[in-house]
Amino acid sequence: MDVINSPFFKEVGEIARFTGRFFKQIVKPKQEYEEFINQCFWIGYKTFTLVSITAFIMGLVLTIQSRPTLVEFGAASLLPSMVSVSLVREISPVITALICAGKIGSGIGAELGSMRVTEQIDAMEVSGTNPFKYLVVTRVMASTLMVPILSILAIAISLYGGFLGVNLKGSVSWSLYWFQAFDALTFGDFIPSLIKTFFFGFAIGIVGCYKGYNSQKGTEGVGRSATTAVIVASLMVFILDLIAVQITDLLGLT
């Protein structure tokens, strides 16, 4: 079967093997908590500003653009409810994940890639520290935890952007806006959206680490690891999002 031997399926298989190795290492005792905390801070520090600004603008723009359509149907008062549902369910988590795929995925890919080609990973192994645990497990766990946290932040900021957007041309009080926004939202909106961000974070971490850890010899390989990490991680985010939508749909959480 030629399809099975194609580079694409080989890559998928390799990533699956890498993920298997991750789970094998994470159940073993002695984890690198300090490095995990460092990585969480690093991820937050790297992405906080960009996520905040983007989320704010998305909330603002979405509101401004939705108004004319709603006005046409005489339903301008539904603006907060409509905007909040899209921001919470889809836009904030996905935008956050894409930013993280860009910044964290490439950052991890380049960092581990250069450590691979300059033999730093081998040096760790020789000095008795399991490099997979020290480098990969910590980074994957950190991005699995931080992407959801950043998503929650993005949701809050984008809803605030939505509030300003509503008030540009209309007038809705602070408390009425939040009342309307949250009235439209159910647990069926929040929980699936939060759950999928864990998967986004996990995928971004795994792909970045996989690309960097298996970087080919030479500095050119490091650049390649970083860029392909971003491409594959972004693609994974969309695929996971598609799967998540199907699942929530099947479970009737719409």
């Binding site: 300059t118 730093q120 081998d122 040096a123 020789v126 000095s127 008795g128 520290t129």
Partner: protein, 246 residues
Amino acid sequence: MEQKDHIIEVSKLNKSFGSNQVLKDFSMKLVRGENLVILGKSGSGKSVLIKCIIKLLEPDFGEIKILDQDISELDEDEMDLLRKDVGFLFQSNALYDSMTVRENLEFPLRRHWTLEERENKAEEAVMEALEDVGLSHTVNMMPAELSGGMRKRIALARTLILKPQVILYDEPTTGLDPITGREISELMISIQEKYKASSVIISHDMNCIKMTSNRVIALIEGRNYRTDTYENLMKSTDPKVSEFFR
């Protein structure tokens, strides 16, 4: 107590990558206290050999014994314990470039010392290793701030921190200017004396070989082609050997 004579024994080691057979039935022995040089062209498999010895690569067949333990039979933990006694100096130095010199030197202690030992004795050990290589003043610097020769010395200090019985050097003077190369060779000799370590030195720098070697192995076509002293090899009329000395 009787001391074991052979620190490292490699027998009939074979290693290939795809169709590229790099090592073919390579055998060697490292005697306690000696400096054994492995001489070979670029790409002849010298790095592959010492990476097999430290188990960074798995050989296809053949046996490797370090301090009388067959490394293929050791699990991860046992191998880590054995690696405490084997220092490895990478050709690229492999300093952790996100860490200071101090953190670089402390890194190997994470696994082998308890937290208490690290709190009480790490600083002393770091300073001792840095003094051995004459770079005490760099302790708070980042690797990127150091010159090539200094980075090599720091990397050497990092391999010394656990006081290994054997040190494996991968081309310690390659890429350095002749004067710095000479300084590194001298440093290797003084360290050997201080720590009573044995060593395997990969090199094709004749100055370094002349200064440091007790015996030299000519690694040719994946085999241990000849083992002899530097002087005898230099006098050899075999064209495969003499081409190294031209």
